[in-house]
Amino acid sequence: MFLQKGKSFGFILIFILILLGLIIIPFFVDLFYQTFLTELFVWILFAISFDLIFGYTGLLSFGQALFFGLGGYTVTILIRKFGLNTELSLLFSIIIPILFAWFVGYFSVKLTGIHFVIITIIFAIIGNIIGDTWTSFTGGADGLTFSPPPYRLGLFQIDLMDIKGNYYFVLTIVAISFLFLRRMIQSPLGKVFISIRENEERARLIGYNVQRYKLIAFIIAGGLSGLAGGLYSLTLKYASAGYLHWSVSGHAVVYTIVGGMGTLIGPALGAGIVMSLEHYLINFLQTTDLVVGIVLVAMVLMAPKGLVGFIQSRFKKGETSA
């Protein structure tokens, strides 16, 4: 599982097949579902960035909403108020959250367990309060709208006002981010993160500067959460203080637990399942949170390793009994 070559071929094959499927889907579904899928891609990116910090490094961060909101606002404000172009704005939606993650992480990674969870919630709450009250800059709860200008990227004319264009743009960036994270997990750095999750004390005893590597994981996850926020804004052409609410981090927690933490593919699946469920239920239920909550509790009780863990254990059982 750690260093096997054979599996990566299978992965590449499946990845390409899924990507091909997602590339042709817009020709078969209407604009509503194209938008739905685009948003799903964004939440997948958010969920896998959370999986890096929680699933792989073992830090339950509720601060990801802060970076998501910052990314969203960075794009919105840079385009709306400063007339910056789309691609640079999106780049800043990684950089600005990275700087904030550096700051927040600097204080947070010194704490462990529940103390870490609480300090990240506090930072997110502060962000939300600032977003809510500094209305001249953020638009508060009403938010800010904008129109991303079209631009050329080599051969491609990218127009995010076009729903299909927006779909492919987000898909591309999320797919690249997924591959980036997957590679990082398999890299020597990823092994350090995993060792911290498994046993912080042992990691320290064999010479890893645990706090430093926690901070690095936190910064990378913050940057990617920011990118997700930036893409979300670009998709909705809008950002509001609600993005900064710490409960936004809760989405990532739910997707990750339902799908299976520490697997990357799990949180992606979890996002797909939960969002589809919500989309389906909204037709005849006032609030879908209750059902999502029940699904979550059921998963925790019956399949604590999430859907991916459940499938893997089934698969293993089949292997040994065969």
Binding site: R183, P188, G190, K191, E201, L205, I206, G207
Partner: protein, 255 residues
């Protein structure tokens, strides 16, 4: 009482080291020197301060006073990860492994800790030298056939050996072992001693151990700790006959 170090090279030296927890003096003005290549046993009744002393040496706890020198340099109060890189490795009294990972991954993680830069863009398995070293460590520790077991599936005795293997994989100049036989029955203990003999030959070791059989079998010298202070020091035969040591262990089943 103190054995004069022969022409041997001192690798670790503690000078007047103290540690207090509130009012409790857990380590009391300890002076200790360990020679290169020596296996020094550190014994003493429960609560004598043995684990605390190891915690001071590897930086897990800050000292309350005194100085610690390793390979001629002062290492007092450096953080554990730095001390690991300076060359001191450690096993704990309560087994401490990467319990959800395989044996292979446990050793790998320890071996790669000697690298300076952890490139996030390459696959770990591209590190041929780390891979080779991991495999040679698996050979040495006898885990070749169990390499792909999750380490929590190993027997308790095997887990104790694996923890030593992890410590050894960081290529230490000094190994601190905190009661490797704790929780093992006498048969398992003897198997572990045999394993240690082959695995750890030539290593400089401080061995905290309650089992006097194991101590007599392995130690070059013994230091006896009682209420945080060293009350006797010397070769195993000498310590065995020491009146004060006998008194400390009187009524205890270990003596």
């Amino acid at each position: 009482m103190k054995p004069v170090p022969e022409k041997n090279e001192i690798i670790l030296e503690l000078k007047e080291v103290n540690k207090s927890f509130g009012g409790l003096l857990a380590v009391n003005r300890v002076n200790l020197s360990v020679n290169k290549g020596e296996l020094r046993a550190l014994i003493g009744p429960n609560g004598a301060g043995k684990t605390t002393l190891l915690n001071l040496v590897n930086g897990t706890l800050p000292v309350s006073g005194g100085h610690i020198f390793f390979k001629g340099k002062e290492i007092t109060n450096l953080s554990p990860h730095r001390i690991s890189h300076i060359g001191i490795a450690r096993t704990l009294q309560i087994t401490s492994l990467f319990s959800g990972l395989t044996v292979y991954e446990n050793i790998w993680t320890a071996v790669q800790s000697r690298k300076k830069f952890f490139n996030p863009f390459i696959r770990a398995l591209k590190w041929q030298d780390v891979k080779e070293k991991t495999e040679s460590m698996l050979d040495l520790t006898g885990f070749k056939d169990k390499a792909h077991l999750i380490c929590s599936e190993l027997s308790y005795g095997d887990q104790r050996i694996l923890e030593m293997g992890i410590a050894l994989s960081t290529e230490p100049d000094l190994l601190l072992l905190d009661e490797p036989t704790a929780g093992l029955n006498s048969q398992e203990s003897m198997a572990l001693v045999k394993k240690m003999r082959s695995m750890l030959s030539g290593q400089t070791i401080i061995l905290v151990e309650h089992d006097m059989g194991v101590v007599m079998e392995l130690a070059d010298n013994i230091s006896v700790l009682h209420y945080g202070a060293i009350i006797a020091e010397g070769a195993p035969d000498v310590i065995k006959e020491n009146e004060e040591v006998k008194k400390v262990y009187l009524g205890s089943e270990h003596a």
